[in-house]
Amino acid sequence: MRKRGYRHTVRLLKSYLHPVDPDPAFSRRLEDLCQGLGADDLLVAESEPAGYFSGRRGMIIGGAVFSALPFLGVAAYAINKHLARRRAVALGV
């Protein structure tokens, strides 16, 4: 068997890959599924968790900010002390 070149691989790939039509029965079934009540039920069922989470999002962010307040206070106090100490040294010189 002779060794094939790069161009042959490309040609082979092009002949192998081509658009494929699904089975007509499957196409019809999916069409019915999308049109029918099943899709509407699915819309309601899947929209509930998203609504639940989006309703809670504000509460989660608010809680996180509120929890961080004491730490922010401590940090502000420490920075203030540090700056005051630096100012005192400068006046002493």
């Binding site: 691989t9 002949s15 192998y16 890959l17 819309l43």
Partner: protein, 194 residues
Amino acid sequence: MEKGGDGGRELCHEDGALVQQAREKREAFEALYTKYLRKVYTYVYYRVGNAEDAEDITESVFLHALVHLDRYQDRGVPFSAWLLRIAHNLVANWHRSASRKRPVSLEAAEGLHDQGLSPEEAVERAEEIRRLREALASLPEERQQVLILRYAEGMRHREIGQVMGKSAGAVKVLVHRSLVSLHRRLSEKEEEKR
């Protein structure tokens, strides 16, 4: 099959109108479904290698799109690219599942019978295609994806870039590297056979 350039932009606008209609009236989704079923199915089919799983995943793609239609925003990314992204994610989940260790099916070669081939040539061609399929399946996911979109879907580099989140130039390079890699693996398989 859609092409890029101005035609692609027109299609994008046209899809935007169809999506808007489908948002207001779910029955209008049928137009989008009819338009892109073949495209999505072709992509999924070559990624999973058999019609049964391809049908299941394609069904999931369209139901997912229908449910999450409100999330699609027409910001220059065509609806078809959005659908193919969903398809890509679902196929990736399918491959990740530990139970999906089926060998690649022979179905894909069925439409490949060239006219005018002698029985010996037909056998040789079938064997060649089998090796090609194995070599393709052994490539990294991204390389399989780009080759299928390029050659099975006939998409342009820019269009593929919209699906994969890459520039047209990056896609061009990726296509070339994928072809080189495929050729190397195919040559290795031929060497093994000798």
